[in-house]
């Protein structure tokens, strides 16, 4: 094995921990549509999930704010699949999560309900309360954006691996 790759891999083995973090809301921008019947198809798909409390839609920007019920186990992938079933794609997904004094840093990883989150391009800080994180993975950004990200995030080995249960997230500045 190439020593350099090995060294990089070792440097970037993320800290793994179980964290109490709950997704309360997801803000999804869907791509490839401009008609209200198309938006309605996505709307109906999202609402058919039992964990969804309500969906607030901006038809002009194709933004779907999905409010989730308490103690749900919805993963971002489930929401993405719903948009795709309607025949469209996710152009952006920002999720609201509540954290309890979680110290995050670059490449920090935690596991939750069968999936994991890796923080990318993140400075060390403590997250407490509700925070917004943007999912950077393929299928959660536009194709154009993914092309750029696969270069800029290439230092994160799990990002390149593209495991569908590893989400790479960036904390949004409020």
């Amino acid at each position: 094995m190439n020593l350099k790759i090995l060294l990089i891999a070792i440097t970037f083995i993320p800290a793994l921990s179980n964290v109490n973090a709950q997704i309360s809301k997801a803000e999804i921008v869907a791509t490839g549509l401009t008609c209200s019947m198309c938006s309605n198809a996505i709307n109906k798909q999202l609402k058919s999930l039992t964990e969804v409390d309500s969906v607030v839609i901006d038809l002009n920007t194709n933004t779907f704010v999905v409010h989730l019920k308490k103690d749900n186990k919805v993963s971002p992938r489930i929401l993405k699949e719903r948009v795709e079933k309607a025949g469209f794609f996710v152009g952006s997904m920002i999720i609201n999560m509540s954290f309890e004094n979680v110290e995050v840093s670059d490449n920090y990883k935690f596991e939750k309900d069968g999936f994991s989150m890796v923080f990318v391009e993140t400075k060390a800080k403590t997250l407490d309360g509700e925070n917004k994180v943007k999912i950077m993975d393929k299928g959660f950004v536009t194709n154009k954006e993914f092309k750029k990200l696969s270069k800029s995030l290439s230092k994160y080995p799990t990002y390149i691996e593209g495991n569908e249960d590893d989400y790479h997230v960036k904390v949004m500045v409020p």
């Binding site: 791509t31 490839g32 209200s36 019947m37 309605n40 198809a41 709307n43 025949g87 536009t142």
Partner: protein, 269 residues
């Protein structure tokens, strides 16, 4: 005539939207997974060689098996034999194999196939398996959507077979054809969406052509139409079809369309 005016009036009161949902062609996009839509298509075409009009009624049901695959079953009823007569049916499937989507645009491609049976008499050189001939059609469609405008083009091969049991396909006619279409649709109203209940209005212009492969005979039609989308779930199309050029035998090339469609979402999810 009263009935037509009443139907038109009903159309104008109601309405719907989607600039890709063309009247005489299908876009590369499919219906949503798990949805079932029911359509009632009516067309009234003027006979050239005799008095009167040729009325076709086409009930259709479309099901989205997945986000990429859909199937549709159609029935054909017409008054060509002077009374309403069930002449045949059709099964259609479309698979979207390519998508390149961006925020307010997409480019998509799909492949489709259709098989139809029909027991009516064969009375023209034009091959039309939607309501006239037994046969099959297979082709590809590419659709580009940019903001409020959709442009779509179809290329297909269509083959006519015998209209069993009574009418064999005439041996002196070309039994297969190449079809090509170009459709443009634009969302006219609203400028800004406020709710799903808003009526949307789309204007469409479609060009439909056919060349018979064995003798090169060709027709080209233009179909302008207006479409209303109601409550983001229902749809009404009013279209007019006019022959621009033809050197083949067609018995009723010009006429009007009036289609009603309603989509039930998440029926099989």
């Amino acid at each position: 005539m009263k009935a037509i005016i009443l139907m038109l009036a009903t159309c104008i009161i109601n309405s719907l939207n989607a600039q890709e949902l063309f009247v005489v062609t299908d876009p590369a996009s499919n219906v949503p997974a798990g949805s079932v839509s029911v359509r009632l298509s009516n067309s009234l075409f003027k006979e050239i060689f005799e008095d009167g009009y040729n009325y076709h009624l086409m009930p259709e049901i479309t099901w989205g098996i997945s986000g990429k695959l859909m199937v549709r079953a159609s029935g054909f009823v017409s008054n060509r034999s002077n009374t309403l007569y069930a002449e045949g049916g059709s099964i259609f499937t479309k698979y979207r194999f390519f998508s390149m989507d961006d925020l307010h645009s997409h480019f998509r491609m799909a492949a489709f196939g259709r098989y139809s049976f029909n027991r009516a008499d064969i009375h023209q050189e034009q091959i039309e398996i939607m309501g006239h001939n037994t046969g099959f059609e297979t082709g590809i469609v590419a659709t580009q959507l940019i903001k409020k405008v959709a442009i779509s083009s179809t290329l297909s091969f269509e083959k006519a077979l015998n209209n069993r049991p009574d009418y064999d396909f005439p041996s002196d006619q070309s039994s297969h054809a190449s079809n090509y279409t170009l459709s443009i649709g634009r969302l006219m109203h609203p400028n800004k969406y406020t709710s799903f209940k808003q009526t949307n209005v789309n204007l469409m212009l479609e060009f439909v052509g056919q060349t018979l492969n064995e003798n090169g005979k060709t027709y080209i039609d233009v179909v302008p139409s207006v479409q209303f989308i109601i409550h983001s779930q229902g749809r009404i199309d009013i279209g007019y079809r006019k022959e621009l050029y033809s050197n083949m035998l067609r018995t009723a090339p010009d006429g009007v369309y009036l289609n009603f469609e309603y989509t039930f979402f998440n029926v099989t999810n």
